[in-house]
Symmetry: C2
Subunit: 143 residues, 2 copies
DNA sequence: TCAATTCCCTAGTAAACTGGTAGAGATTTA
DNA sequence: TAAATCTCTACCAGTTTACTAGGGAATTGA
């Protein structure tokens, strides 16, 4: 029912890259440090995100990871799905379920509700919201 | 991210009782048989549902379990929560998260979306939907 | 070309969780 | 009192989770 720690790490890592919005690669070690993620664990996650087509990488001295698509074309849902598997409430309908069971319909409604949030939220949205939060903080501060 | 098998069993068991809508108790064995749930496992689940205040029970020859509240006052979400724990996307916010992290807000939005489905669906609703499905089936049949 | 730096890949692993099973005990009723 | 039924505790095998370990491969600067 909940997102795994691994899933959260993945989101935070992509978010970290989206915030920099830099063309040059960011090192695993930097992301791990900033986001407080165990580095070796993060390596696995980033590699998976690369294989899934979200990230690109470069080796060697000034190497690291970077987004291959702009942040407004990566949704939270998409990242979550490749790390944690299908975002669904029930697994495939239990065997031998009676044909007028009301549950399958319930699950699809719940899944649609969930998707309407996570599949419509891009990392650009998240970055923007953070900016707004910061702006508000500063305003309150100045007053 | 998904409902456990145990959670599904719990829902099906409550649904079974809601369908009968009988004042007399229903035996574990009957529910297990109708819903194809391993009986010993179901025992644990029903006992938990009793301790959580959804069901009552009676021992002895004509014993069994029954709903203590009418089906329109039991929501899917409530049952799910006592069996599977809090229906939330993220566990408690990860330590040391920066104050303008956009994720907590995202999770509350997702949780609200989910709740709007499962906390508004009662077992009376489910029973009714099943009736409608059946009615439609019969109509198609007759034509 | 060498060595430092960085990503890449495979494996292992302790602890928790899941989906059960086993068996004896407590209550109720006939 | 016996049969039926719920109740309670304990156990367990298999899977998943959240890591850690260690070496290999590419890139680059000197």
């Amino acid at each position: 029912m909940d997102v795994s720690v691994k899933g959260e790490y993945a989101l935070r890592a992509v978010f970290d890259l989206a915030c920099r919005n830099a063309p040059e690669p960011t090192k695993i070690a930097k992301i791990a440090e900033r986001q407080k993620i165990p580095q070796k664990f993060l390596e696995l996650i980033l590699s998976q995100l690369k294989q899934s087509g979200f990230l690109g990488s470069k080796r060697g001295v000034e190497g690291g990871y970077f987004l291959v698509r702009p942040a407004d074309q990566i949704t939270v849902g998409a990242v979550l799905r490749v790390i944690d598997g299908p975002v669904q409430l029930s697994r495939k309908p239990i065997e031998n379920e009676s044909p007028d069971s009301p549950f399958p319909e319930l699950w699809t409604r719940a899944e649609r509700a969930l998707s309407s949030v996570i599949d419509r939220t891009t990392f650009a949205d998240l970055v923007e919201r953070r900016q707004q939060k910061r702006a508000r903080r500063v305003v309150n501060w100045e007053i």
